[in-house]
Amino acid sequence: MKKDWPLWEVFIRSKSGLSHKHVGSLHATDEVMAIENARDVYTRRNEGVSIWVVESKYITASDPDDSDPFFEPAKDKVYRHPTFYDVPDEIKHM
């Protein structure tokens, strides 16, 4: 009987101090195989010091069709950025 192997998303920390970043996906039957395959597929040239894998079905994403209204609340709040404020020339450091 044929069964598709589940899909996993792969995240790699390229070096200590940096966050894990999504690099792609792969198929594996379980988490051990997913980690080992991720090493062989995505880090053949020392691209990572740590790997996370998560089955793709567990990822919840925001809806791209809805992204304009969804991110709208942040758009008119320019006062959250430092460039919104005038600092007098006399003040050298702020």
Partner: protein, 321 residues
């Protein structure tokens, strides 16, 4: 406010160089074109391992063997990145593989030529990977995000492929007269099929125009082919080898090399399945798929058994660990 329909909005995004991501709305034809192109590309990487794999056990030194192994392993990786990219469009991995095995899907015709001498490994790295790089560098800017990102990764790995091939050619071209002759013979056999890798002439290319409009491609087949000839001729001259084209000549006015007409009859013949190794290549893939079936099934059975155990007694599991 102007009302744009979905298709116009999509094209406006493309024109503004905004990348398309998997869950974004896209025309069905864009999706289909990409699935076809990306999966063909993936199949090419996978089938492309066969002609070179032929020489792993017969590499002339341990150094060459290690390098060739690493290169062929990279090609397997390229295939996997690309299958994953195709899956983001809703394609199913196993269906894609079936399309390759049943001959429904195409792959690059270059891999239907045999590798009859060690020099062919040099010529493949230099010319075949060289031609592939030209195409893939362009594709790093493709409008579909996952495809473009896979290409960035692939291009980083490809440049060693071409260099190791050129190194083999240099060694042989500077070797004994017999070795130099082998290198020349390999160039003679791989030159024209390499030019064919860029596909039919622009006038005869069925999908080109729409793909350019969608910015999947950014250069036409003929542009890429010309670019390849222009950079490769000096490389052949450096080797002291002769490109097998009596019409090859620098054209001062155009600022490009003129070159002879490709044998399009041969091109279409190989595309249609009648190249020297078409059947052998597919047979090798089918055999690998069938021979590996028990491994795939055993892995699924093992994972299911483990899951069962977790359900029965999570605590016992934790203690055993």
């Amino acid at each position: 406010m102007t009302h744009l329909n979905l298709e116009d909005q999509f094209q406006a995004k493309i024109d503004a160089e905004t990348k398309i991501e998997p869950k974004d709305w896209m025309p069905e034809a864009y999706r289909k074109t990409l699935i076809r192109q990306i999966s063909q590309h993936a199949h090419s990487e996978i089938v492309g391992m066969l002609p070179e794999g032929n020489w792993i056990t017969r590499a002339p030194s341990l150094r060459r063997k290690l390098i060739l192994l690493a290169k062929v392993q990279d090609e397997a990786g390229h295939g996997l990145y690309l299958y994953s990219a195709a899956e983001t469009l809703g394609a199913n991995r196993d269906e894609l593989v079936q399309q390759l095995l049943t001959g429904k899907a195409k792959y690059s015709s270059i891999f239907n030529y045999p590798t009859t001498s060690w020099a062919d490994i040099g010529a493949i790295g230099w010319l075949v990977d060289g031609a592939a790089i030209m195409n893939q560098v362009m594709l790093t800017r493709a409008s579909y995000g996952p495809y473009a990102r896979a290409m960035v990764r692939i291009c980083k790995e490809e440049s060693f492929h071409q260099r190791q091939g050129y190194e083999i050619m240099m060694t042989m071209a500077k070797g004994s007269p017999a070795q130099k002759q082998m290198a020349q013979d390999a160039l003679n056999r791989w030159w024209w099929p390499s030019l064919m890798m860029f596909g039919p002439k622009d006038d005869d290319s069925a999908h080109s125009e729409q793909s350019m409009k969608w910015k999947i491609k950014r250069k036409s087949n003929d542009e890429l082919r010309q670019q390849f000839v222009d950079v490769t001729v000096p490389q052949a001259e450096y080797l002291g080898l002769t490109i097998p084209d009596p019409d090859l000549q620098w054209n001062e006015d155009r600022g490009h090399y003129d070159f002879g007409e490709i044998n399009w009859e041969e091109f279409w013949n190989v595309v249609k399945g009648n190249g020297p190794c078409n059947r052998q290549r597919i047979q090798a893939r089918v055999k690998a798929y069938e021979d590996g079936a028990w491994v795939r099934e055993a892995a699924v059975a093992y994972a299911e058994k483990k899951d069962q155990r977790k359900l029965v007694s999570p605590k016992a599991q934790a203690e055993a660990a």
